[in-house]
């Protein structure tokens, strides 16, 4: 059973539909006990970092998610959900993230015009990552993006894929052991997105 974190984060319906399409069983929940019993956790997200971070704290979900991670169960963060996995977010002030990944969330440079970055774009995947089970049966590496913020990492992380918008290169996917973060929306990325979600559910 896959827990989808229910924190009023926008297009959750699309994500549930996408997971049902690939025959996954899901539960939309905020209940720590229910989350604990699940095999996978997805943190979805359309929204602002500050609002989401406050909401998770108010509902005391940081310890629950940390516990889930300690048990090495697969976690997928999508867009804002990916941002929340990081140390700090600088959207609407400074807010703490879950700290499961070492990045910071910043606004895309004003050189990236127009902003937000909306539309389909390529993932540039290093050779070392192409064989990862997450990419099984995925031939087209174009996915759908809709964001104004991105995650920056101070140190080079080898298990990352990147995307170029105008002349700016940012990390669009990271695999760190049991934790996966994606800047794009697999639930909105046609066949390749559905396959990526299916591959995640099999991890």
């Amino acid at each position: 059973m896959i827990a989808i974190l229910d924190y009023c984060a926008g297009n959750i319906r699309s994500l549930i539909n996408a997971l049902e399409q690939v025959k996954a069983r899901t539960v939309l929940t905020l209940d720590p006990e229910v989350i604990n019993q699940c095999t996978h956790l997805i943190i979805p997200g359309v929204g602002s970092f500050g609002f989401a971070s406050d909401y998770l704290m108010k509902n005391n979900l940081f310890p629950t998610i940390h516990e889930f991670n300690k048990n090495k169960k697969p976690i997928l963060g999508i867009c804002l959900g990916y941002h929340l996995l990081q140390q700090i977010g600088f959207e609407d002030g400074e807010h703490p993230g879950l700290g499961l990944l070492p990045g910071t969330v910043n606004r895309l440079s004003e050189q990236c015009r127009p902003l937000p970055h909306i539309g389909w774009n390529d993932l540039i995947i290093p050779k070392s990552m192409v064989q990862h089970p997450l990419f099984n049966n995925i031939k087209n590496h174009q996915f759908y993006f809709a964001h104004s913020y991105y995650v920056g990492y101070t140190n080079e992380i080898p298990t990352c894929a990147h995307t170029r918008y105008q002349d700016f290169l940012f990390t669009s996917l990271i695999i760190n052991d049991n934790i996966i973060g994606v800047q794009f929306h697999p639930e909105k990325s046609h066949h390749q997105g559905l396959t990526l979600l299916e591959n995640f559910t099999k991890m």
Partner: protein, 248 residues
């Protein structure tokens, strides 16, 4: 399936009651199909996004599109953008809850521009498009209309673009009332003027009747996407054929 980086071909479904309809200059509406079936068809054919526009909601102050939306997003795994009659943060919340990925608002923002701040603070800029229906006053000046092109707001279109983008809107869906439904091509001067003031993406809507219109708009680099209706609904061309031409 062809995807062009950072350029979207969007299928626009204008809906009245249970039907997709199409008019000329946003008037004289004809039924052209079932919204759910057309959404699925355009999804299968490679559309990058689907727009569902409730054409009567802003006139009658209601929204009857959520049933179509709920059903469509069970089978359509690309973004669905919904609009028509949304007036409050609660309306937007309900639209996202029903499966929309983004909303566009015209009348609601003209009547209450501060709504932009409420929506984008909660859901981010990328979640809100401002729909602008522009009618030419001169060759360099456009007025902003609302209620499906029926009412003149007296706002200058370029000033309105500046205002909504400063308030935080993430995109402009810019419809040319003069060219809408005519199949005579896009109103290029409108998009030239808009691209000079906008630093957010612009989607062009209104006038595409032949593939050449789409190719020249794409090559101009003025906009980040094109919303298509007549050309698709009347089977003049298909999305996959259009994209093949664009990458050639």
């Amino acid at each position: 399936m062809i995807r062009i980086n950072n350029f979207r071909i969007i299928a626009r479904l204008d809906i009245k009651n249970e039907y997709v309809i199409k008019g000329i200059h946003l008037e004289g509406l004809r039924k052209v199909g079932n919204p759910y079936e057309l959404a699925c068809k355009y999804y299968q054919d490679g559309a990058d996004e689907i727009i569902l526009n409730d054409t009567v909601a802003s006139l009658y102050g209601r929204n009857n599109l959520f049933d179509v939306l709920k059903k469509s997003c069970e089978k359509v795994f690309i973004p669905i953008i919904i609009g028509g009659g949304l007036r409050s943060l609660a309306d937007v919340e309900a639209a996202l809850e029903a499966g929309a990925d983004r909303v566009f608002i015209n009348t609601g923002l003209i009547k209450n521009p501060k709504l932009i701040i409420d929506i984008t603070k909660r859901y981010g800029s990328q979640c809100l498009s401002c729909s602008i229906e522009a009618k030419a006053l001169t060759s360099k000046k456009w007025s902003v209309y609302y209620d499906c092109g029926r009412e003149d707001s007296q706002l200058d279109a370029m000033e309105w673009i500046k205002q909504v983008q400063d308030l935080g809107v993430g995109e402009i869906l810019l419809t040319s009332i003069d060219n809408e439904g005519t199949k005579n091509g896009f109103e290029i001067p409108l998009y030239e003027a808009a691209s000079k003031v906008a630093h957010i993406p612009i989607i062009a809507s209104g006038g595409a009747g032949r593939i050449e219109h789409i190719i020249s708009m794409f090559k101009s680099g003025l906009v980040r996407g094109i919303a298509l209706a007549s050309i698709l609904h009347y089977n003049i061309s298909t999305i996959s054929d259009i994209k093949k031409e664009l990458i050639n």
